[in-house]
Amino acid sequence: MPTNSNDEIGRRGYLKFAGAAAASVGLAGCAGDGADIDTPTETEMGGGGEDTETETEDTSDEPFEATVTQGQMATTLDPHNHRETSTDNVLLQAYDRVLFRDAEGRIVERLATDWERVEDGHVRYTLREGVTFHNGDELTPEDVAYSIRRVVDPETGLESPQRDQLAGIVDAEADDEEHAVHVYSDGLNPMAFSLQASYCLILQQSWAEEREQGDIAQEINGTGPYRMVDYEEDVSVEFEKYEDWWGEEPDVDAVTFQAAEESSARVSELQAGETDLIVNVPPQDAPTIQDGDAGSIEAVPSTRVLFLVHNQAKAPFDNSAFRQALNYAIDLDSIIDNVLDGFGDPTGQPTLSGYVGHTDDVDPYPTDAAEAEALIEESGYAGEEITLHTPVGRYLGDVNVAQAAAGYIDDLSNVSCSVEQRDFGSLASEILDGSRDTSPAFFLIGWGNTTFDASQTILPWLTSGGSINHWDQSDVDEWMEDAGNESDEDARAELMADSNRTISEEAAWTFLHRQYSVYGISNRIEWTAREDEQISVEEFTRA
C-alpha cells in the first residue's frame, strides 16, 4: 500500500482533492490538427473527437460536443431486449420513462406529470401533453401502454429479459380521454411507481410494430432529449439535441457514446483529451487522473452490493454460528482501504443505506478473530476446509476482494479457505439452474438494485420463493409476504427492516461492501454522478 499521500488518493482523499481541481482548460490541449478533417465527410469518420474540433479560446459560442466512453458498447438499441446498464445509458439519451429519478434516487415526473394509486393493484399515470417522438409523431397513451406490455407480456412478440424489472405488473391500458395510462398488477404491488421510475423506456407502438425485432435493435425513435444521428454497431452511437424535446434544453449539443473495454485505454483517452467521461476508473488510476491536467475523479456509492453467498443446502453453511464466524473473521475496512483504495462502503445487511427497508440498527460485523474461532468451535465444524468461488473480472476488484476475504478466513486456526476463480458464465449457470444442490457452497456475487427498495434484493435471494434463493427463514418469508400486501409505506418499511435484522443476525451472507461508481471527467464538463449508475447527458453542463 503506498504511503506517499501524493500517490494515493482513494475515495476519502478524492473528496479533499475535488475542490481543488482545475475549473477548466482551453481546448488547446485536447484538440488535434483540426484542419485535417475539416471536410464534408467529417461525420463519417466518427470517433476521436479531437479531430472534429477547432481550437478556440472562447468556447461559449461553440457547439458543445461531448464524448462518453463506457466499458462496453450498447449490445442493442432495443430498449426492452437487454439487461445492461451500459446499454441503458446509451438509450436513456433518446428514450424517456414514465417516471424518473433525480440524482439522489427520488422519484420525479417525466412523461407522466401525475401518478396515483387507484386501488390495490391498479395505478394511473397522467401523461404530459405535447410530447413528440423523434419522427415527429405525438406520444399517445397507447404507446406507453404498449411499451409496458412489451416488457411484461410475451404476446407482444418479445420475450423481454426485463420482465422481472416490472415485477407484479401484468397489464396496461390506455385512457385517451384522460390522456392517461392504467397499469394493473397482480396483488397490491407497493413497488409500482418505484419500478416505473427505474425501468421501462417508452417507444412508439406503430413504429415498433412496423419493424422486425432486428430493426428495432438498430434504430431509435424515442421522446428523449437527444435523437440518434449515426450508429456503428459495437463501435459508437452519435446523438444530437432533439430540438422539439418537451424538457428544458440541455447544454450539450451533441454526444457520442463509445466503449473501451480496457480500463487503461479509457484512462488514456481521458488524459489525451479525447473523451469527456469515462466509467469504472480502476482505483489505482484515480490518483493519476486527479493529479493530471486533463480531468478529475467523480465517485459515488452505487446501487450494487457485493457479498459472499452461503448455500444453506450444504454443510457447513447450514449452521448459523459458522456463518457468523465468517463475518467476524473478515476485516472489511481493510479490504476496502487496501484492495479498493477506499472506493466502497462496508455493509452488514442486504439493503443499502437510503433504501426503503434499510435499518440503522444493524452495523457491519466487527472484526474479531477470537470470536470467529469460538463460533466455529461452537458450530461443530472446526477443521473444515471451504472453497470460495469467485467470478473473474465481473465486478470491481472481485478476485482481489475474494482472495483477501478468503485470506482472513484462512488465518483462523480452526478453518481453512481457498479461492477458486471461475468464469462468470459457468458459475452463473450453476447458480441459476433453480437448484441449490448444483450451486457452489460459498461464492462471491454482486447484485444491483436500482429501485431503492429492499424487496428487490431480499425477495429473489433470501426468501424461499426466490428464484436465486440460497438461504431462507420462515420469519423473513412471512414479513416479506406481508410487506408485499402492505399499503402503508411506514409499516411496509418496518417489515422489511425486520427482515434485514434477522438476515444480518443469522448471517445469511458474509456481508462485503457497497461498490462505488468511479468516473473520470474531463475539464470541459461538469456533472454530478448518480447513485443509480445512469449517465444522463442532459445533466452535463459546460465547465
Binding site: 466518427g46 449490445t75 431486449n81 435493435a217 454497431e233 473495454e261 458464465g425 452463473a428 449457470s429
Partner: protein, 329 residues
C-alpha cells in the same frame, strides 16, 4: 501441374478445412460450460422463462438438427442472429473484417519494410556495429510483449507527446481512398494513417524482429554458397549479387512465415485491438465468448479460418513466382 490447377485443388482442400472448422466450432458449444440463456435471461429468471428463452434461441432442438440448420444457413451466408443483440451475425462479423484486414496488412507492411533491409544490412555487415544493432533490435522486438509495447506507445506518443490518437479507427482505408477520388483530398488517408500507425507498429514489431533474424540467417546461408562465389567471380556488381540472387532465394522461407503470420494476425490481434480499441474481429470474438454469443463466435472463427486458408493458398501460389524451380505436384 499448372498453377491454376494447383490453386483449384488447394481451394477444394481449403473448403474441407473450413468445413472442419465449422464442425469443430459448432461442437464446441456443446462441451463448453455455461448456457447462452444465462446471459440473456434475468439473473432471477424462473425455469419456465429460461426454457422459453432457450426455445426462442433454438437451443431446445436436438444437436444434429441445430447442426444441419446451421450448415444450411451458412450455404446462404446466414450465420444466424446474435443471442445478445438480435442482429444478423454475418453483418456484424463482416463489418469487423475490414478493420482486422487493415491492421494485419499494415502490421505486415511494417514488418516487411523494416525487417528485410535490416536483415540484409545485418548479414552483409556481419560482426560489425550495424549487425549488432540489428541483432539487438530483433532480440528486444521478439522479447517485448505486445500489450506492454502498446500501452507504452500510447502513454508516451499519444498522451505525453500528443502525436497520435490513443486508439480507435476514425475512418476505414477504403473510404479514405474514395475521398481522394471524390473530393481530391488526402485528409482521409492522413487520418487513417494517424490512427493505424501505433497499432501497426505494436502488432508488427514482433514480426519485424522475427523476419529480421530470418533474413539475416537466410542471407548468410545464401551468401556462402557456390553460386554467389561464381557470380562474384564473374564480376557481377555486389548489389546485384545480394539483392537479385541471394535475397531472392532467401525470400521463400520468409514468405512462408509472412503468410502464416498474416493468417494468424487476422484472428490473433486481440491484445493490440484491446489496447487501441481497434474495432476488429479479435475483440468481437472475445466479447462474444464472454457473453456466450455463439452465432458471433462461430461466424468469426469461420471467417478467421477461411482467411487463414486463403492467405496460405495465395502464399503457396507465390512460391512459383519467387522461385521458378518450385513445381506444383
Amino acid at each position: 501441374m499448372s498453377l491454376a490447377k494447383f490453386l483449384v485443388r488447394r481451394s477444394l482442400q481449403g473448403l474441407f478445412v473450413i468445413w472442419g472448422v465449422v464442425t469443430a466450432v459448432f461442437m464446441l458449444r456443446f462441451v463448453t460450460p455455461g448456457s447462452p440463456v444465462d446471459f440473456v435471461a434475468p439473473l432471477d429468471a424462473s425455469p419456465e422463462l429460461r426454457a422459453r428463452i432457450a426455445a426462442e434461441l433454438g437451443l431446445d432442438q436436438p444437436m444434429y438438427i441445430q447442426y444441419l440448420d446451421y450448415l444450411w444457413g451458412l450455404l446462404q451466408l446466414d450465420m444466424g442472429y446474435s443471442y445478445i443483440s438480435s442482429t444478423p451475425a454475418a453483418a456484424r462479423v463482416f463489418a469487423r473484417l475490414p478493420a482486422t484486414i487493415e491492421l494485419a496488412v499494415a502490421a505486415t507492411v511494417v514488418a516487411i519494410v523494416f525487417s528485410i533491409p535490416l536483415g540484409v544490412i545485418s548479414a552483409t555487415n556481419r560482426h560489425e556495429p550495424a549487425d549488432y544493432a540489428a541483432t539487438g533490435f530483433s532480440l528486444v522486438g521478439i522479447s517485448t510483449p505486445n500489450f506492454w509495447l502498446g500501452i507504452m506507445l500510447v502513454l508516451l506518443v499519444s498522451v505525453q507527446l500528443g502525436w497520435f490518437p490513443t486508439g480507435r479507427r476514425a475512418i476505414g482505408f477504403w473510404p479514405a481512398v474514395q475521398l481522394i477520388w471524390q473530393e481530391g483530398t488526402l485528409a482521409g488517408i492522413v487520418v487513417w494513417l494517424r490512427y493505424i500507425t501505433l497499432p501497426a507498429i505494436t502488432l508488427g514489431t514482433y514480426f519485424t524482429a522475427l523476419i529480421t533474424r530470418l533474413t539475416r540467417s537466410g542471407m548468410l546461408d545464401e551468401l556462402g554458397k557456390e553460386y554467389v562465389r561464381a557470380a562474384r567471380a564473374k564480376g557481377l556488381p555486389e548489389t546485384l549479387v545480394r539483392y537479385k540472387h541471394a535475397l531472392r532465394n532467401t525470400l521463400i522461407p520468409i514468405i512462408t512465415i509472412l503468410g502464416l503470420q498474416l493468417g494468424t494476425l487476422i484472428g490473433g490481434a486481440v491484445i493490440t485491438e484491446a489496447v487501441f480499441t481497434w474495432p476488429g474481429l479479435g475483440t468481437l470474438v472475445i466479447d462474444a465468448i464472454n457473453s456466450r454469443d455463439w452465432p458471433i463466435i462461430q461466424g468469426s472463427l469461420i471467417v478467421i479460418g477461411a482467411g487463414f486458408v486463403i492467405v496460405n493458398t495465395i502464399v503457396d501460389g507465390l512460391y512459383a513466382y519467387i522461385n521458378p524451380q518450385v513445381v506444383y505436384e
